[in-house]
């Protein structure tokens, strides 16, 4: 494409992009910039937000220092890591399982695809409330099922050790359809020729899976891992509704803290600083993964 034509294309595109671009500036970019400013102040979230209020409440890096100095921050980060360690392997395995089931050519497969995707479309509020019932120690269906096979289930949401796994369980149920769909498209993109060749060479199902499917699926897996990690750090609605950070703070996570500080304790500056720390953590982790991908992600072309 010549430079001139490129320019003209841009000119034509601008009017089409403008509406969403304006929305993005007003509702996304401005708040991002303002939240940096707020994070350097101890604004309480009630005084009128203006340059003057922010200037008179300026504390520079105090919020960041304070957050990093509290044991709470590290505790909350620990809870998030606990969640990630359980959630990511489980959600990947479940998604892969769903993807390979849905990849079969059988009658009525569309019905199954829809079934697995329904949780993704369900609102977290409704899903959390239902899971709260499922997980109820005495009246919940989960412990009842466990009872049939002779296991007396724990007090899922009221037990310090089991509360986070319970949230992981609900999250995996809700998210596996989403990642499953991604992996399914990855599976579909694998040339069947590879499998045919493998069969001719006498490779078994297992060998096929580890030598063909997994390597060729790695770009999709990579994308899923990054998205799942980002989502894990932003864990919030299920915690807020199912446990409110309890029992005894065992499920307090970063976004829950940000909400509590901003809207319950009236420490908007502190909350903003918290959210920027969250951003930095996610950003660094994503950068690391981008670097590491050379080691294991195979691109076909």
């Amino acid at each position: 494409m010549s430079k001139k034509r490129q320019k003209r294309a841009l000119k034509n595109a601008i009017p089409f992009m403008l509406p969403s671009f304006l929305g993005m500036i007003v509702f996304s970019f401005l708040p991002i910039i303002i939240s940096i400013a707020i994070s350097f102040t101890n604004w309480n979230g009630l005084d009128k937000l203006s340059y003057k209020t922010l200037a008179s409440n300026f504390v520079f890096l105090d919020n960041y220092k304070q957050i990093l100095g509290t044991s709470e921050f590290w505790k909350v980060l620990g809870h998030t890591c606990y969640y990630i360690v359980l959630y990511i392997p489980m959600v990947l395995i479940m998604s892969l399982l769903i993807a390979s089931i849905l990849n079969k050519n059988m009658k009525g497969i569309t019905v199954f695809r829809i079934m697995y995707y329904i949780p993704v479309l369900t609102s977290w509020v409704a899903a959390s409330l239902i899971w709260k019932w499922v997980l109820s120690p005495q009246y919940g269906i989960l412990n009842q099922l466990l009872g049939y096979i002779g296991i007396s289930g724990p007090g899922w949401l009221t037990d310090k050790v089991w509360a986070m796994p319970a949230i992981v369980l609900a999250s995996v149920w809700k998210d596996m359809g989403f990642y499953g769909l991604f992996l399914l498209s990855g599976l579909k993109a694998i040339d069947t020729g590879y499998y045919e060749a493998a069969i001719v060479d006498g490779a078994g199902k297992m060998k096929q899976f580890f030598s063909i499917t997994l390597p060729l699926l790695s770009p999709s897996m990579f994308f899923c891992i990054i998205m799942a990690l980002i989502n894990a750090f932003q864990l919030f609605p299920q915690v807020q509704i199912m446990t409110e950070g309890g029992p005894n703070g065992a499920t307090q996570v970063m976004v829950e803290r940000i909400y509590t500080y901003g809207f319950k304790y009236f420490k908007m500056g502190y909350a903003s600083a918290y959210s920027w720390l969250l951003f930095v953590i996610i950003f660094i982790l994503t950068l690391i993964q981008m670097k590491l991908q050379n080691k294991w992600v195979h691109y076909e072309s």
Partner: protein, 438 residues
């Protein structure tokens, strides 16, 4: 493929940062329009203003009418509008769950309603931050004084009590009969209650004597019953780990951890305390008078009420929501007239009682007497007898933070992880470190 993936990823990262940014600033994009004036202390002086003939249109936001009393509020407004035809009120009723997040954003953005309702926790924060107008010159003679004083900060009245409710001891008469013990009386102490609890618990494995939430809300009241409190007299220091408080907290927690006449979290299994009472498996529950209507419908056994047991003295809960005027409103007189009428006029009070909504915070016995005629409970008089022992929440600016810290420590103690003494010591330490008192 690789390039495409990269761009997809970058979009993901960007989306994340957007979400993060939004999480903290929410709708505060009103920066451009927000006035740059410092929030100043404004006062409403009705005494100096003639009843203006000018018409005023004001906005009133509340959460208390949501979930069943919207029509009652509308009827009240119709009556008000007849009396003051020049004042038009746009009523906004917002559900409790969204109310305070929304109000905070609106106050900060300069678009708060002219007058609105606040619960007692948020009232303190708002009043201390100077966003409420002081109300002077309104006729406060009709109010219950305890309720009225709850909303005065440093001698300045920033709100009027829109309603009030208190806590009484509700008990299952049938369980008392079965256990063969006498019903509770108004002069019971916790020792008497514990004795009854053990006998009721002995009736069955899944029957419990009492349920009293292990929360800050209960703690400050029980502390008062033992002569303690979480703050010293002039609210300059925390006194959470005092001798009296330790006695109070020990009483609250040992009935879970030691005698187990109160179910643990695990034994509750996610069931609500009201549900437990309604199921007929709970002897006593100290809870709010707003439970009456629900219990009247749901309980198929006999129940009644009396004044809550005490420690070395009696103390009972008192809750009230404040009706306040926005400091930035330009129609403060009209707003104050409306909230004062809504909170204290006999007409509004009568409607409130007739609808079984809650109690108006007034001192007119004639109007209140209508409330006594409703049954169950038989002994409705206990609601008013409890008023003799009112204790008000220790209001400080960081009320929610203090409340969360103490609740958290108490529930750690109730789960047996730390001792009661450790819980109070830790709470004292954390509150002192994190909260600046005036």
């Amino acid at each position: 493929m690789r390039k495409k993936l990269m761009s997809l990823l970058l979009t993901g990262v960007l989306a994340t940062s957007l979400l993060t940014g939004c999480g903290s600033t929410d709708d505060n994009t009103a920066e451009g329009t927000a006035a740059t004036t410092e929030s100043k202390q404004e006062t409403v002086d009705l005494a100096n203003t003639e009843v203006s003939e000018e018409t005023a249109e004001i906005t009133y936001a509340n959460f208390n009418a949501s979930g069943g009393n919207e029509e009652t509020l509308q009827k009240m407004y119709d009556a008000f509008h007849e009396e003051y035809p020049n004042i038009t009120v746009n009523i906004e009723t917002i559900g409790y769950d969204d109310y305070f997040t929304q109000m905070q954003t609106r106050v900060a953005g300069g678009t708060a309603p002219d007058c609105y309702e606040l619960n007692i926790e948020n009232f303190a924060a708002y009043a201390n931050k100077g966003v409420l107008a002081e109300l002077t010159g309104i006729d406060t003679s009709g109010y219950n004084t305890t309720a009225l004083n709850a909303f005065s900060v440093d001698g300045k009245q920033y709100g009027v009590p829109g309603n009030f409710s208190n806590v009484v001891l509700i008990y299952n008469k049938d369980l008392f009969d079965k256990a063969g013990i006498a019903y509770p009386t108004d002069d019971w102490t916790w020792d008497d209650a514990m004795e009854a609890c053990e006998k009721i618990s002995a009736l069955g494995d899944d029957i419990y004597g009492i349920y009293q939430p292990i929360t800050f809300n209960e703690f400050f009241k029980v502390a008062a019953q033992y002569g303690g409190g979480v703050l010293n007299e002039d609210k300059t220091e925390f006194t959470i780990n005092s001798e009296e408080n330790l006695k109070a907290a020990t009483m609250m927690i040992s009935k879970v951890t030691e005698t187990n006449v109160q179910p643990t979290e695990a034994q509750m299994g996610g069931m609500g305390d009201w549900d437990l009472f309604e199921s007929g498996r709970l002897g006593m529950i100290p809870t709010g008078i707003w439970a009456f209507n629900t219990f009247a419908d749901a309980c198929d056994f006999n129940w009644d009420i009396c004044v809550e047991p005490g420690g070395t003295q009696k103390a009972t809960h008192f809750f009230s929501n404040a009706l306040v005027v926005n400091a930035d409103s330009d129609k403060k007189e009209a707003a104050a007239t409306w909230i004062n009428w809504l909170a204290s006029s006999d007409t509004a009070a009568q409607m409130r009682i007739d609808a079984g909504w809650d109690l108006p915070a007034i001192n007119n016995e004639d109007v209140l007497s209508g409330y006594l005629k409703l049954t169950p409970p038989e002994n409705r008089q206990a609601v008013f007898d409890s008023l003799n022992y009112l204790t008000v929440a220790p209001i400080i600016e960081d009320y929610s933070l203090m409340s969360d810290i103490i609740t958290n420590k108490l529930s750690l103690a109730a789960s047996g992880e730390i001792t009661v003494k450790e819980a109070l010591d830790q709470a004292q330490e954390e509150c002192t470190a994190q909260i600046k008192l005036q």
